[in-house]
């Protein structure tokens, strides 16, 4: 079968593992062979993978870029080599000739977190913000979205803001320090991914504090389970599986008979998943 390159920023993140699985499932379903590429959170590595794939003669590329600007040259190269490219999740606007983009903007996701805070606490709230890994683009974008919503409004005060590197142990340690350092506990803890949120949850539990809303991001099964059982308040669903499948379908449709997608950019709106709308979550089925 013809080969399609499926590339994600890093397979050490469960979010991208899910995306990769969705890619592979759909590529196989469409009758192609998937070539897997793990960017290992490094633009040069992902670039090299793309170059290797071009050399190998893949028929198409579906990719979630590690870093949109840094991956542009490699994708440009692919486009120039006549290989159709579909980007998923993160858009690379600087490259002309990308077949399509299917995504849910991380900035929008951050805004969804902010909006949920406003909705839950109309009278204002104090917020602890756990940022993702310094310098990583999803961390930057999600943080930006949150600030977009909250910054203009004096009722909402971010009383503590630190990176916890997307990691659960750091999420726990930073939250512990925050709870020690703050005169009174915050109303909300917003985390840029579920791992940090789950770490924060353990810190809050250890202190026997109740009534702190914890909002994660990514809608991983574990987080969904916690949302169901009340450990977490919410998480942000970006429908990575749907994005991925759609991306592959768009690509294979073009490969099979040259069908161009009706719209070059398809954006799914990220949604805050709470106990009330749990069933919209894509991976609820994985939760037992």
């Amino acid at each position: 079968a013809d080969k399609i390159l499926a590339s994600v920023p890093g397979l050490s993140f469960p979010f991208f593992v899910h995306m990769m699985n969705a890619f592979k499932a759909e590529i196989t379903a469409q009758g192609y062979e998937a070539v897997e590429s793990d960017g290992q959170v490094s633009s040069p590595k992902q670039t090299a993978d793309i170059e290797a794939a071009i050399a190998q003669g893949v028929k198409g590329i579906v990719i979630s870029p590690n870093e949109v600007d840094a991956m542009a040259p490699a994708l440009q190269q692919a486009v120039e080599a006549g290989i159709p490219v579909v980007t998923v999740d993160r858009r690379v606007p600087s490259v002309e000739g990308i077949l399509a983009h299917i995504g849910a903007d991380n900035v929008k996701g951050g805004e969804a977190q902010g909006n949920l805070v406003k909705q839950m606490f109309p009278d204002g709230a104090t917020i602890v913000n756990l940022q993702g890994q310094s310098g990583a683009s999803p961390a930057i974008d999600r943080n930006k979205g949150l600030h977009n919503v909250l910054d203009g409004d004096a009722k909402y005060k971010i009383v503590f803001e630190q990176t916890a590197g997307f990691a659960r142990d750091k999420g726990l340690a930073v939250t512990e320090a925050a709870l020690s350092g703050l005169a009174e506990p915050p109303k909300v803890i917003v985390a840029a991914n579920d791992d940090m949120a789950l770490g924060a949850m353990e810190a809050v539990k250890a202190r026997n504090l109740s009534g702190i809303a914890i909002i994660g991001f990514d809608a991983l099964p574990e987080a969904l389970a916690q949302v169901r059982d009340g450990g977490l308040t919410a998480t942000i669903e970006q429908f990575p599986g749907k994005q991925s499948a759609l991306g592959v379908q768009t690509l294979t449709a073009f490969l099979k008979d040259g069908t161009k997608p009706a719209e070059k950019v398809i954006l799914l709106t990220p949604v805050a998943v709470t106990k009330d709308n749990l069933n919209i979550a894509e991976r609820l089925g994985e939760v037992k």
């Binding site: 050490s12 350092g181 939760v287 037992k288």
Partner: protein, 340 residues
């Protein structure tokens, strides 16, 4: 050989201030740092925060104890973080009774209990350490290379084992080991301190400990003195593996979860703790006491700066500078003593 008195008599009566400072330089630096933090942010000294620091330090501290053995033989272990992740996942799978209920929450897990989970974590750690120790001694590949390879292999194994995802939700008896307290003292802190005391005794007062220093000081002389150099070197990696397994168990208990990405970057933190504590990377010199102080120094830095809500970018700059200053102070104090 003279019957006349030896010239080698120090004036023992005067208090040797330089000697004292030299000996306890890392500790003095730590106390000064804590004093500074306490002045800027009084909450730093609250007992709850100090226990936070110690609890936070306890995992990397456990690894640092193992690493002290390794570095004393002039070795190094870069695989600790990966091995910890792998051991933690295996322990989690045992605790959950398999991979099917990965995200169950709460007390009703059906697994094999924390005892078997802890044993599994430690067994994985021991096995991982042994394989690496074997490769180092048998194939004579430098520890840096073997454990760099191990770092990659164990991380890959962890990701493969858990298919990239976490395993979470243990019963109370399990999480007690990471979240519980005895009196006011968190359990991980107790584990860490007990381990440190045992390690201290082993290194200082046993034949094995002596031999670790000897092998680090001059391996050829150790061999010609009849020591089983191969066995000793192999065993320090096994000890390191033991602590990686123990650390994995405690970390999983603390986070109520085990992940394939756990422990990423720990190797440098752990090695830094050991070196800040005065252990020489060239082997043969160092103490567990120093390692404990080094671990606390890093923990205090991380906690204090977060507590003061310093921007994370600036934090990194400050941490880098202070680590260098701490070791510079130690070196300076020791050189003063040497000059007399």
């Amino acid at each position: 050989m003279s019957t006349t008195g030896s010239p080698a008599k120090a004036t023992d009566t005067s208090f040797d201030a330089f000697g004292f400072i030299a000996r306890f330089a890392p500790l003095i630096f730590l106390l000064v740092l804590m004093a500074v933090f306490a002045i800027v942010e009084p909450r730093f000294l609250s007992s709850i925060n100090l226990f936070n620091v110690m609890r936070q330090v306890s995992i990397t501290g456990l690894l640092a104890i193992g690493m002290t053995f390794v570095i004393l033989t002039a070795g190094i272990d870069l695989s600790v973080g990966s091995l910890l992740a792998f051991a933690g996942l295996v322990a989690a799978a045992v605790a959950k009774g398999g991979m099917q209920d990965r995200f169950t929450v709460g007390d009703d897990a059906v697994g094999y209990g924390w005892q078997l989970a802890a044993l599994a974590a430690i067994a994985v750690g021991l096995a991982g350490g042994y394989i690496q120790g074997f490769a180092i001694t048998r194939f004579k590949v430098p520890p840096f290379v073997v454990t760099l390879g191990g770092m990659s292999v164990f991380r890959g194994a962890a990701l493969l084992f858990a298919a990239g995802g976490p395993i979470s939700g243990f019963d109370k008896a399990f999480t007690w080991w990471g979240q519980g307290k005895i009196g006011p003292v968190p359990v991980p802190v107790i584990i860490f301190l007990v381990a440190a005391i045992v390690a201290h005794i082993v290194l200082r007062y046993t034949r094995f400990g002596r031999r670790v220093y000897a092998v680090g000081g001059n391996p050829e002389a150790a061999r010609l003195s009849g020591l089983n150099v191969t066995g000793i070197i192999c065993s320090v990696y096994v000890i390191m593996g033991f602590f990686a397994g123990l650390g994995a168990f405690v970390l999983a208990a603390r986070l109520n979860s085990a992940e394939a990405v756990a422990g990423t970057g720990y190797e440098l933190t752990v090695i830094a703790s050991v070196v800040i504590g005065g252990t020489s990377l060239f082997g043969g010199a160092g103490t567990i006491f120093g390692t404990v102080v080094g671990s606390l120094l890093i923990g205090v830095l991380l906690n204090g700066l977060v507590l003061m809500n310093v921007s994370s970018y600036i934090q990194q700059i400050i941490i880098g500078v202070i680590i260098v200053l701490a070791v510079a102070f130690d070196t300076f104090a020791k050189s003063r003593r040497k000059r007399g």
